[in-house]
Amino acid sequence: MVAKAGTRREVKAKQVSQSYLSLVWWKFKKNRVAVFGGIILILMYFCMCIIPEFIAPYDLEHSTNFPEARPQTIRFIDAQGKFSIQPFVYGLDKKIDEKLRKRVFVENTSVKYPISLFVKGDKYKLLGFIPGDIHLFGIRNAQKDQYVFIMGTDSLGRDFFSRIIFGGRLSLLIGLIGQVLTLLFGSVLGAVSGYYGGAVDMFVQRFTEFLSAFPDIPLFMALAAAIPKYWSPIAVYFMLTIILAFVRWGGLARQVRGLILSLREREYVLAAKSAGASDARLMFQHLLPGTVSHIIVIATLSIPGMILAETSLSWLGLGLRAPLTSWGVLLQEAGTVYAIRFTPWQLWTVIFILIAIMAYNMLGDGLRDAMDPYGGR
């Protein structure tokens, strides 16, 4: 009457075993919005931080005779209604606008500049050491005064698209580097303070309280205002990064501390402790792996804040300044009423900033959901 129990109970046996990371990855992949945000970010960082010289059609300081030119429309059909598979732009003619009392540039429909991929142009060194002169797009064999400005030019006639690409390098990097510094300060101090308690804990807690008593933005501004005006641009850049990290680490430390405190009471930590695990083992085998996912999420979600802090400080004139080019510096030029009225295309910067921020938020949000793969499977 009693059957062979073994075989019946094997039904569910063959299952692929999944580690925490593979579960996270599996769940993350299913979230299309987050993956999309991630891809956007990878593209942005690759194009703007690694190969901006190649992506930008012109050198950062390449001034032309077309100041404040509006963006040229990229066309496939010309004035005569003729279609060409290769896109082109019309040449620009100088004109005086009587009503605005201002020099403007208008399209000259008789001159067509076809746009090609991988054209020779300004020389550059990728990452500072790989020489090259090929750009992603441009006008092949361009003569003098033949340009393509897909996002117009600034008051010195510099291609605005190129400036945005180069500006992105500083702005995107400052967010990333600043966050890495914050992570170093914040998570180490937070973890130590949560695990050991005592004097370190006291100090970290009091200090974070003090930092939080300072209003956030004013603190940024006050510290940024304290950067000497005569410092070299690079020094200012690093100083600003450090300030960003300094202001933010307190919050992170507090969160990590809380996480460690709650994990420390988990039974698996007690189990390891009761088996005689060393502090280092508890920390690196049990506590930190449990917090890393949270830290990554927190970090991802706070990078946009860093980027924004840079842009707004630079925009206020308290952060980066020309000759450095960052999105904030570009905004400073774009944000005046004059600029909005006469060169509104400079607001393209805003669009780029928003894309970066949204992408980070999408990624971070997806990561947050994915990092908890055991719930709601």
């Binding site: 075993s17 999944q18 579960l23 039974e267 083992r281 049990h286």
Partner: protein, 354 residues
């Protein structure tokens, strides 16, 4: 091992020499802190002068209602919490010479000595979800104590596999992660981990209370089998009186940080000497619809361990309480052979068992 003290015999010490653990006057107070400056304004007396002992290969049940300090007592013994006072004598083989056990005081040990002892005492936890690190494989979890003590070698994987099989898991479970298992299976993993260093004493902290009835029985049987196989001693902490009675050779009943009564399991259940034990027994619902008993309903709630009543902590709920119970803390004494009780009126009262 100079400070390791030989056992002194007194009232609560066993008369035989096969004891493996002898807890004497153990105290664990948690400070209550308040305000910005974290001033200590009082103490939660979670474990307050607790004494009991465990013999080689036997199970001591530690039973009581929530907040009675049974879990804290278990954790303080193994120094997960630093004891506030008292002594914990343990008969250690590791520290003994020529394979002969030696009585050492765990409460006085430094960290490195304690680490050696941890090979001989291990723990099984309550929560099958929280007691296994979700980021480690079953193999790594079970091997962890070996790794900690540098005993993980070439053939350790084989040992772990046989251990897994012994607790009813399969060798291919080795590379799986805890979330792929049910509660009962996880508890088996936890048990395998506790056994990986061949301990002699296992502290089981409510090991079955989170499990369903049918799984609970499987786990209890497994624990009993393992005890027979490896000659383990258990301290079995639980709030379920019937489970405790089933598995324990001797039982200690705790109430608000103190041991009220300790005796052989049958003796305790059939001839309780403490009114709390009697009331607790009668309160347990019996799975027998024909069983009709005069139930003793204890009035009020369990006392607050941060602000316990005077005298005998049980007196406000005790139906036999007299003036003395309010004033004097009763002494924990051996009234009959191997039957200890802390009640002023234990001698005169005739209490009903189950």
């Amino acid at each position: 091992m100079t400070e390791a003290v030989a056992v002194q015999r007194n009232d609560t010490s066993p008369k035989r020499s096969d004891i493996i653990l002898d807890v004497k006057g153990l105290k664990k107070f948690f400070p209550i802190q308040k305000g910005l400056l974290r001033r200590v304004v009082g103490y939660v007396k979670a474990v307050d002068d607790v004494s009991f002992f465990v013999r080689e290969g036997e199970t001591l049940g530690l039973v009581g209602e929530s907040g009675c300090g049974k879990t804290t007592a278990g954790r303080t013994i193994i120094r997960l919490y630093e004891p506030t006072g008292g002594d914990v004598y343990f008969s250690s083989r590791v520290l003994g010479e020529n394979g002969k056990p030696k009585m050492v005081n765990l409460a006085q040990m430094d960290k490195s000595q304690m680490k050696l002892i941890r090979q001989e005492i291990s723990m099984v936890f309550q929560d099958p979800v929280n007691s296994l690190n979700p980021r480690m494989t079953v193999g790594d979890i079970v091997a962890e104590p070996m790794r900690i003590h540098g005993k993980y070698g070439v053939d350790s994987e084989r040992v772990i596999i046989s251990l897994l099989e012994r607790v009813g898991l399969r060798p291919d479970h080795l590379r799986r992660y805890p979330h792929e298992f049910s509660g009962g299976q996880r508890q088996r993993i936890g048990i395998a981990r506790a056994l990986s260093l061949n301990p002699r004493l296992v502290i089981c902290d409510e090991p079955v209370s989170a499990l369903d009835v049918s799984i609970q029985a499987q786990t209890l049987n497994l624990l009993e089998d393992l005890q027979n196989d490896f000659n383990l001693a258990y301290i079995f902490v639980a709030h379920d009186l019937s489970v405790v009675q089933h598995i324990s050779d001797r039982v200690a009943v705790m109430y608000v940080g103190k041991v009220a009564e300790m005796a052989d399991s049958d003796e305790l259940y059939n001839h309780p000497l403490h009114p709390y034990t009697e009331a607790l027994m009668s309160a347990v619902p019996k799975p027998d619809p024909k069983y009709k008993s005069e139930r003793i309903i204890m009035q009020g709630d369990v006392a607050d361990p941060s602000n316990p009543p005077s005298g005998c902590y049980f007196h406000p709920r005790c139906r036999y309480a007299e003036a003395i119970c309010k004033e004097k803390v009763p002494e924990f004494r051996e009234l009959r052979p191997d039957h200890f009780v802390a009640c002023h009126r234990a001698e005169e009262l005739t209490l009903k068992g189950v």
